[in-house]
């Protein structure tokens, strides 16, 4: 008797807790229904304002929908640790570059820790890490430990910076977590402009102020590269089709030093006499350009180490971030020869603001520097009056203004920006600071809101039909006892949803699939019990003891079968990623809950019915 009262109490408590946990979801739903029903905008605004607390509260505690149902982006980004280690190294030489190259290819192919690959590679070459890292007196282990700390820090810093950027951009409830030693998992629900978000996230935001070399040096350098390409006339191995010569319209604007008017299109495989000038044009004033079509080829050319070796010491050829429009509407990307060592970096920037420039049409970003930066900036501008300083962001030149006078205020401007939106994004990344190392998107899953709505519809439809089919079947097959099973089933679904809501887990489409599957499986325990009761009734037992024995005997089967299902679901949850975890989670909760609902709850229903003489032998069909 005591046991029975305990069971009733337990059922009451579970039901109440479940209802309490789902209440905000219901409120959230009814409040937003009400908001939608208000016709005029001022009405709904007034309603939203007067019930603001309740709306916010309900929303915060309501059942969350997964990214696939709500629409949004799931991104996995990887911090480029090879780049990070390269930054940390000093007196780098050709050998170091070679080792790093092997490390990079190996790291991209395997999932092993980059640091292990790096130290392994050094060991293979019999070179001590201390030759390039930290102090010469450090042992390899010490350096590995330091580098490990370094990469951990880098990952956490990257996480913070990316969180900053996302917060400033404004995404509701972003989730950013780290995974392993180099991965960031970013979940952004309800993002509408995915392109913008991607750009915002992946840029390193490394801002540099670099001195431009004189135009004559640029021209001479390009000549040298051209001569080199002629001598080593292997090119173009890289897609000769893409390396279209600049169209005549472009070349007509170009004067010396491009005498050979229009180079005839070079047949593939046959080397041109002027390979570089097929893709790069030089104006008389000494500025160099490439066209949009040849841009990719030029970039790959400039990355080649043999080409880089031809540049003057401590210089680099960089392309502009944005094209200039030529006379005939052709997009031309200026090429700059800049010093490799920056005069000043973005670390000194304290404030950034996107505005429109002096003419009020060209968007630009104003930046202010800290005191250290200000004094440096004053010295640099003072010493280089009349020269050009390039403003470089992530290795692309935004502008290269001529220094008119010394700038004592610590102000600078980025222009050459296409839209105000882009200027705003620059503002965000500059304020959030530069990432310690480049990041790459290595996995992305984004679902648009319209597909999400489809998924919700499909999920609700499946839930409804599955419940209807199974519960009607139970009623038909087991008659009155079927009612108990169906009540247990309803409670089961409510428990699954309330656990999800209570623990702030989100419901995804695979999660709904898990619930649908649970509907089919949860009645298993009832089927086992009922079949057993039928057997006992056939064996001549009276109803009451048949029920007792049925529950008793069926229990070990139910326990074994549920534990095995739970095992499989738990392992799926442990090893699964993203959407699959949602499925495993609902299946797990559902299976565990069905142990309670289909044994305890149905038994109480029967004992209630038995107590009122509402059950007969026929009640089990």
């Amino acid at each position: 008797m005591k046991n029975k009262r305990f069971n009733l109490l337990l059922i009451a408590v579970v039901t109440l807790v479940a209802a309490w946990s789902l209440w905000p979801t219901w409120r959230d739903y009814s409040l937003s229904q009400h908001l939608n029903s208000l016709k005029s905008a001022p009405d709904s605004l007034r309603y939203a304002l007067s019930n603001r607390d309740e709306i916010e509260n309900a929303r915060k505690k309501s059942l969350k929908l997964g990214l696939d149902l709500k629409g949004g982006m799931h991104l996995v980004m990887e911090v480029d640790q090879v780049d990070l280690f390269e930054q940390k190294a000093w007196n780098k030489d050709a050998k170091f570059a070679e080792i790093l190259k092997t490390v990079r290819t190996k790291a991209s192919q395997s999932d092993a820790k980059v640091l292990d690959i790096l130290s392994g590679e050094f060991k293979n070459q019999n070179i001590r890490l201390s030759r390039y890292f930290y102090d010469i007196r450090n042992s390899d282990q010490e350096i590995v430990k330091k580098l490990e700390k370094e990469s951990e820090d880098a990952l956490n810093r990257a996480k913070e910076i990316i969180r900053n950027r996302i917060d400033q951009y404004g995404v509701a409830e972003p989730v950013i977590t780290t995974q392993g030693s180099r991965k960031l998992i970013i979940e952004l629900p309800g993002v509408s402009d995915e392109n913008r978000v991607r750009n915002l996230l992946k840029g390193t935001a490394k801002l540099e102020f670099r001195l431009l070399r004189d135009p004559e040096i640029l021209v001479r350098t390009l000549d040298r590269i051209n001569t080199y390409l002629v001598q080593n006339s292997v090119p173009p191995p890289i897609a000769p089709v893409a390396v279209a010569s600049p169209s005549p319209s472009v070349l007509s604007q170009l004067k010396a030093p491009v005498p050979a008017a229009v180079p005839a299109p070079v047949p593939a495989g046959q080397a041109s006499a002027r390979p570089l000038y097929d893709v790069i044009g030089v104006f008389q004033n000494g500025t160099a350009y490439t066209t949009e079509r040849s841009k990719d080829y030029v970039i790959s050319l400039l990355r080649r180490s043999d080409i880089q070796a031809l540049l003057p010491l401590d210089t680099e050829l960089l392309l502009a971030a944005k094209p200039e429009i030529g006379k005939n509407g052709e997009k031309l990307f200026p090429i700059y020869l800049v010093k490799k060592t920056p005069e000043l970096t973005g670390g000194v920037i304290t404030e950034a603001k996107a505005t429109f420039g002096s003419q009020g049409v060209q968007p630009e970003v104003l930046m202010a520097m800290n005191s250290e930066g200000t004094s440096k900036w004053a010295r640099i501008t003072g010493a280089n009056i009349g020269k050009r300083i390039a403003i470089v962001l992530d290795n692309a030149v935004y502008s290269a203004p001529v220094v008119q006078s010394k700038i004592p205020s610590g102000n600078s401007v980025i222009n050459g920006i296409e839209s105000l939106e882009e200027a705003k994004d620059l503002e965000i990344v500059l304020k959030a600071g530069a990432l310690p190392a480049p990041v790459r998107i290595i996995e992305e899953r984004s679902v648009g809101p319209s597909l999400g709505a489809d998924y919700i519809r499909a999920g609700v439809l499946s839930l409804g039909w599955a419940f209807l089919a199974v519960s009607v079947f139970m009623l038909v097959y087991y008659k009155k006892a079927g009612i108990a099973a169906d009540i247990a089933l309803v409670l089961n679904i409510v428990i699954v949803l309330s656990v999800l809501a209570g623990f702030n887990a989100s419901l995804s489409l695979p999660g709904i699939a898990g619930i649908v599957l649970t509907i089919g499986m949860a009645v298993d325990a009832n089927v086992l019990i009922y079949e057993r009761i039928r057997e006992e009734l056939d064996g001549g037992k009276v109803l009451k003891s048949a029920i007792e024995v049925g529950y008793d005997r069926a229990f070990s089967s139910i326990l074994d079968s549920h534990v095995t299902t739970l095992c499989a679901a738990f392992l799926l949850y442990t090893y699964g990623i993203g959407p699959i975890q949602g499925f495993a989670l609902t299946l797990m909760i559902g299976t565990a809950a069905s142990l309670f609902t289909s044994i305890v709850v149905t038994k109480e229903i029967f004992s209630f019915l038995l107590g009122r003489n509402l059950m007969t032998q026929k009640s089990f069909g």
């Binding site: 489409l509 699939a513 089919g520 009645v523 298993d524």
Partner: protein, 311 residues
């Protein structure tokens, strides 16, 4: 209502035929796996996929030629039959470029049929190999856990036969995926994470079914002579037959609902679970229990089972 009331099928007598049937099933699946292989989805293959939905009906070849002309390389397939197409290509971290390439091409040439890019998935090669590994680990770990649990609750012979039955079920479904992969537009049957979830669900269900039969055998076999084992096995299976069929029925019902209503993203999963449960039900009667029977007969000593009712 009662469907399987007081049956007396002689399952043990027909077990040899069932073994033969299972072997044919497994062999054809394995041959197809060896010859044709599996159709991997982007989870395990790596790559980028763009799901495009049009406003009006359009032929897949029209869209394909438009993308071809625009120089966007990749393959295009009908997706789920509702004016949607799945464009898949090699992995490219620059999803922006891929997206603008596709939508520019379609906007330029198919102006009067508006399209929307409703989903983008991009999985890098390192992630793909990660996912593959976790899938393998999850499968192995769950089989081990089941082996341990059933071994602990019953006996090693029962546990082993149960795990053999799980292998039988999963391999059959895998074989079917290989044989039918890529044959249907509405159901590509690609191996991805959801199929691994399906396998684990099948494993869980198959052992559940088997355990119920085992449980009844355990209840009845205690203190019996090995000579009576055949009768006991048959009776136990017949007594649990009704339950086995009914629960399989309710699960099949709900999986069928998923297959019909839950959309193309879930369809492959629903198909795998549906077939897996059919096979799992069959194998618990015709593979798992008969294997235990044969094994017990060979070992000739009475079986000592743990657990169960001690009242």
């Amino acid at each position: 209502m009662r469907i399987f009331h007081k049956t007396s099928f002689d399952f043990i007598r027909f077990r040899k035929i069932a073994y033969g049937f299972s072997l044919v099933l497994l062999a054809s699946g394995l041959i197809s796996l060896a010859v044709k292989g599996l159709n991997y989805g982007i989870d395990f293959r790596g790559g980028s996929e763009v799901l495009i939905r049009f406003e009006k009906n359009i032929d897949v070849s029209t869209v394909r030629s438009v993308l071809d002309v625009a120089g966007v390389s990749g393959s295009l397939k009908q997706y789920g039959l509702d004016r949607s197409f799945l464009f898949s290509t090699v992995f490219n971290g620059e999803t922006n470029d891929l997206k603008s390439l596709v939508s520019h091409a379609l906007n330029d040439r198919l102006k009067d049929n508006h399209h929307e890019i409703v989903r983008i998935d991009a999985v890098g090669p390192s992630i793909a190999s990660d996912l593959k590994w976790s899938a393998v680990k999850a499968l192995i770990a769950s089989l081990l856990a089941i082996l341990l649990y059933v071994g602990f609750r019953f006996e090693l012979k029962f546990a082993t036969a149960g795990v053999v039955a799980i292998f039988h079920d999963i391999l059959t479904v895998l074989g079917l995926f290989s044989i039918l992969g890529g044959l249907f537009d509405f159901m590509p049957l690609e191996m991805d994470q959801s199929i691994i979830a399906a396998f684990l669900t099948i494993a869980g269900y198959s052992i559940t079914d088997t355990v119920v039969v085992y449980d009844r055998i355990r209840e009845r076999i205690r203190g019996q002579k090995p000579a009576d084992y055949e009768r006991i096995f048959n009776e136990s299976m017949n007594q649990t037959l009704s339950r086995t069929i009914i629960t399989s029925g309710t699960v099949l019902l709900s999986v069928l609902v998923l297959f019909i209503f839950a959309g193309p993203a879930i369809r492959g999963f629903a198909f795998a679970v549906f077939v897996g449960i059919l096979i799992g039900t069959y194998s618990s009667i015709f593979v798992a229990a008969p294997l235990v029977y044969d094994w017990l007969k060979l070992s000739k000593s009475p079986v000592h089972l743990r657990g169960g009712k001690v009242s």
